[in-house]
């Protein structure tokens, strides 16, 4: 053990080393470490956020799907209703048209029958008159008995 000026030389070098470390080494390394820690923390937070967001999105999707299904069911219901309505209306229209045409045909048939009857009556009248003329040509004057014959024709 001997003390000498080495002591001062070593104190000086120690002081310089401390200064150098404080000034140039420590801050850089610690900065890098802290920055990385921050990055990792941010990454973890982002992952956590993404996970919760995914869960939210899943829930939202489920709700949307449910809603869409409901809407689809409603639309189908409505369409069916509408189709039924259209069908009913068409049926009604068809029935109405049928009835109308039937009525028109019946009316025509009735008028034609009427006309035929009229003609028939007239022909029968004239036939009866002609027959009667032939039978009683001599004693009966056509003009004198015309009124009687018309009355007969009307009664037939």
């Amino acid at each position: 053990m001997e003390f000498n000026a080495t002591l001062f030389g070593e104190i000086l070098s120690f002081a310089i080393l401390i200064w150098f470390c404080v000034q140039f080494i420590w801050p850089h390394i610690l900065n890098a470490i802290e920055e990385r820690q921050k990055k990792i923390a941010e990454g973890l937070a982002a992952a956590e956020r993404a996970r919760t967001e995914l869960k939210d999105a899943d829930a939202r999707v489920a709700v949307e799907i449910k809603k869409a299904r409901q809407q689809a069911a409603e639309i189908i219901d409505k369409a069916q209703q509408q189709a039924n309505q259209i069908l009913d209306k068409a049926r009604e229209d068809a029935v109405a048209e049928l009835n109308r045409q039937k009525a028109a045909a019946q009316a025509e048939i009735a008028s034609m029958a009427q006309r035929a009857r009229e003609q028939l009556r007239e022909q029968v009248g004239s036939l009866a008159v002609k027959g009667a003329e032939k039978i009683i040509q001599r004693e009966i004057d056509a003009s004198a008995h015309k009124a009687l014959l018309d009355q007969l024709a009307a009664e037939i």
Partner: protein, 269 residues
């Protein structure tokens, strides 16, 4: 040196190895310097500074390289030690602790070089004496512990103010009664002085003893008997492996005590 060991025996061999390289070896006056301690400690200090500095300059917050990862490991270890003990601004204390730890470790690690290697190489260049382990030199260990001592005083004044620190020196630990001022002060002086002395002597003693054991075992190698040679090889290896533990622990203790002493300077009694 084997040749000298044969000439003068083990005592001379060890005495030779325990002599510092100093321009005034014979005089041994105070104003001489131990060139070996100075050069080795400076070289290791520069190695530490440049190594950490180049890595720190390129340090990235992304994926670190191997060197950066290793240095970050050391830095975070030291920072954790400081954080455990000291609850304040670590911008000075933590790098101080890092410097102490790495520098002391590197200087201690010189003990792991074969005890004759550097003296043998340097003898070829005409250098007569060389001690490779700066921490086995009291000047080195006291230089560090006295610097720490100055920092203890500085932070005591800084944290408590001149009046506060004086008050503490005279009134703690016994009490503020005027009769107790002198005992308090005396006790505090002893406590204060014991810190740098114990810090320096612990490291010096461990490294000096370790070096001495290496020399004793190395003396067996040149003793001229194959049995002693084999014993020497085994002993040297075993002591070397054990010494890895010692140099790490001594560096760690020096660092932790530095942190503890300086953080104690911040504490109010």
């Amino acid at each position: 040196m084997a040749s000298e060991a044969q000439q003068g025996g083990l005592t001379e061999y060890i005495q030779h190895h325990l002599t510092h390289l100093s321009p005034h070896v014979s005089e041994g006056g105070f104003w001489s310097v131990h060139l070996d301690s100075l050069t080795v400690s400076l070289a290791l200090g520069v190695l530490f500074a440049l190594w950490f500095w180049t890595t720190a300059r390129k340090a990235t917050a992304g994926v670190p390289g191997r060197t950066q990862a290793f240095i970050e490991l050391v830095v975070e270890f030291v920072d954790g030690q400081v954080k455990d003990v000291f609850h304040g601004d670590r911008r000075f204390l933590a790098p101080l602790a890092l410097t102490v730890f790495v520098w002391v470790f590197l200087m201690n690690a010189m003990d792991l070089l074969p005890v004759d290697l550097l003296p043998w190489i340097l003898a070829k260049f005409g250098v007569g004496h060389f001690r490779a382990v700066p921490t086995a030199d009291v000047n080195m260990t006291f230089a560090m512990s006295l610097t720490v001592f100055v920092l203890i005083i500085f932070y005591s004044f800084k944290a408590k103010g001149v009046g506060g620190y004086m008050h503490e020196l005279f009134t703690a630990p016994f009490g503020a009664h005027p009769l107790l001022w002198i005992p308090n002060f005396a006790l505090n002086l002893v406590e204060l002085a014991s810190k740098p002395v114990s810090l320096a002597m612990r490291l010096f003693g461990n490294m000096y003893a370790g070096e001495l054991v290496f020399m004793l075992i190395a003396g067996l190698l040149g003793a001229g008997s194959w049995a002693l040679f084999g014993l020497g090889v085994i002993g040297y290896t075993a002591w070397g492996i054990f010494h890895i533990l010692i140099i790490s622990i001594q560096a760690f203790i020096f660092m932790v005590l530095t942190i503890v002493y300086i953080s104690m300077a911040h504490d109010h009694h």
